[in-house]
Symmetry: C3
Subunit: 140 residues, 3 copies
Amino acid sequence: MRTATTYRAFRTAKRQEIIDITDDVEHCRQAADIAEGFVLVSAMHISASVFVNDHEPGLWADILDWLESRIAPWDVAAYRHNAGTGEDNAAAHLRSLVMGHEVIVPVTQGALDLGPWQRVFYGEWDGQRPKRVLFKAMGE
Amino acid sequence: MRTATTYRAFRTAKRQEIIDITDDVEHCRQAADIAEGFVLVSAMHISASVFVNDHEPGLWADILDWLESRIAPWDVAAYRHNAGTGEDNAAAHLRSLVMGHEVIVPVTQGALDLGPWQRVFYGEWDGQRPKRVLFKAMGE
Amino acid sequence: MRTATTYRAFRTAKRQEIIDITDDVEHCRQAADIAEGFVLVSAMHISASVFVNDHEPGLWADILDWLESRIAPWDVAAYRHNAGTGEDNAAAHLRSLVMGHEVIVPVTQGALDLGPWQRVFYGEWDGQRPKRVLFKAMGE
């Protein structure tokens, strides 16, 4: 079994942002030199997500609007977490839970085994500060 | 380490549909002939899901209603993705994100290590066209 | 490749409850004696979740309130699953789907490779009865 572990740091310009990290997944696969296996992609923060979806800016805007309007409004006063800790990011925690914080990308015959439209994204829900994503490839 | 990778194609009669694929997971385990390890089950599309839950048709109907009424209404005019691309399936993308697109099924002592009621499902959120799911078993 | 599989049983005092199980993940890692790999943590029930987030009681209360008020109200009469089976826990199934039932914790250089605030939790959505979580470590 071969493994490789890489990290990518982010400091987004906006507080919420969606970033395509598919190329980083492939770089980690190459670092491990695996032809069969997988790459685990995992946000190392509890106010961020990693997910697979479409490379389409309209959809990214839809996701940000939908998280705010329907899933977990930022509304600072609505959450005990904010009241108790002095933070304002409870909604970012909930968004991380809904969107998930990790994906497993399969590797088959020396390539990421993604469908035709599948790309891997980092979703920042509380940015403008240093954050990290872990990539771990395992296989043969 | 032994691996096996299989694929199953779907073309659902209805646009939204939930299909039990647990037997396919076990077939992939058998193809890899593993006793310890896991099977990754991953939708290869960004408008579909793979999830673990109950083999109970009432619940499947509840899931479809809940996605429509509470989580991500189909409402074509509400999404930038639809306006910008001419598609109508932005809601299917959001449903894929909420329900997830992959699961890892543990394999222990030569069998899928699922709880008594756990079954694996493919959730089609934009069907009536060809779609695929990947199964990848890894272990020993 | 080395593996270890452990289980932890729960019988929560309250019907909904969030429990930190990070130490169990580390114990499974130690049982497998792996320095590189991962630990799969998977609820064996369809009315429970496993997720990664913050060890902060205010946030745990926020999560329980948010699941009830915004994501999947308990409302017994609203679901076909309850009508058809005589159960009352359809909302617990939906909460399991939103929050996810499994996580993969990376292991690097002999330790769980979690970010500074990341902890692993069991989310019980229909407790006061016996439930189980599986931990499976794999690596080298």
